[in-house]
Symmetry: C2
């Protein structure tokens, strides 16, 4: 029987978030160009092609975005569109609107959350639903 | 034409990571019991059932884990297993091994990464591949 009396160790936060993509080179180009994420590793290491199994990109100070080539990872196999939200500063919201427009990315939805957070929603090349959002989506962030 | 000369606004990090689950109440119970994540919101607000469209859980100081009931969110629709990694302190690794054992969760894989990071892999109730990992997986974290 599961025993909850043993003290539970701590999690510091989410380190890696995964997306499953058709064309790794297209996705790496997109996340580098639109978000400025740096490619920090890949498997295999040599160059990025549409056969690269895994690309790891640094997404801010504590997060890694993993881009798995669909169908090449035995132990996870997600298909369909996934949602990921990126935190931004409130003062950067107008700059994000302008930047997405310059990048010819369609904003699918603008939303103001109940705690005042403002969000822009748009798609990545695989149709994953991305959000950039200011503080105030959740009561605590 | 996309114009990269305009200055790119900043992303602070990944705020929300999503999983798509069959039974929201089972998943909320699992993430609360195993990780200590607090339920911070749901849609609808009243109680958690297997019909709850979205449960939001606090995962550490800067991250939110979103649990979407499969098939109820029009704009994202992922199926299959997704990978998520949670950062832990190096000193907590033995406690995590003991804790997972107490919770009767099978460790599927133990791995030491090239920069010294040590990881434990296991599954959530939907088969999503979870990892708790110490610093040293990536060159930068």
């Amino acid at each position: 029987m599961a025993d909850a009396s043993c003290s539970r160790p701590q999690v510091n936060g989410i380190l890696e978030t995964s997306l499953y993509v058709e064309h790794p080179s297209r996705s790496v180009e997109f996340y580098r160009r639109v978000f400025g994420f740096e490619l920090i590793d890949s498997d295999p290491r040599e160059g990025i092609s549409d056969e690269t199994r895994l690309c790891a990109m640094r997404a801010g100070d504590r997060s890694v975005l993993l881009l798995f080539k669909k169908g090449t990872t035995a132990d996870t196999n997600a298909t369909g569109a996934i949602h990921v939200a990126f935190g931004i500063s409130r003062s950067e919201l107008p700059a994000w609107e302008a930047w997405l427009s310059r990048q010819e990315i369609t904003i699918e939805l603008r939303k103001t959350w109940k705690y005042g957070g403002e969000a822009l929603y748009f798609r990545d090349p695989d149709g994953h639903l991305l959000e950039v959002v200011t503080p105030g989506v959740w009561s605590i962030f």
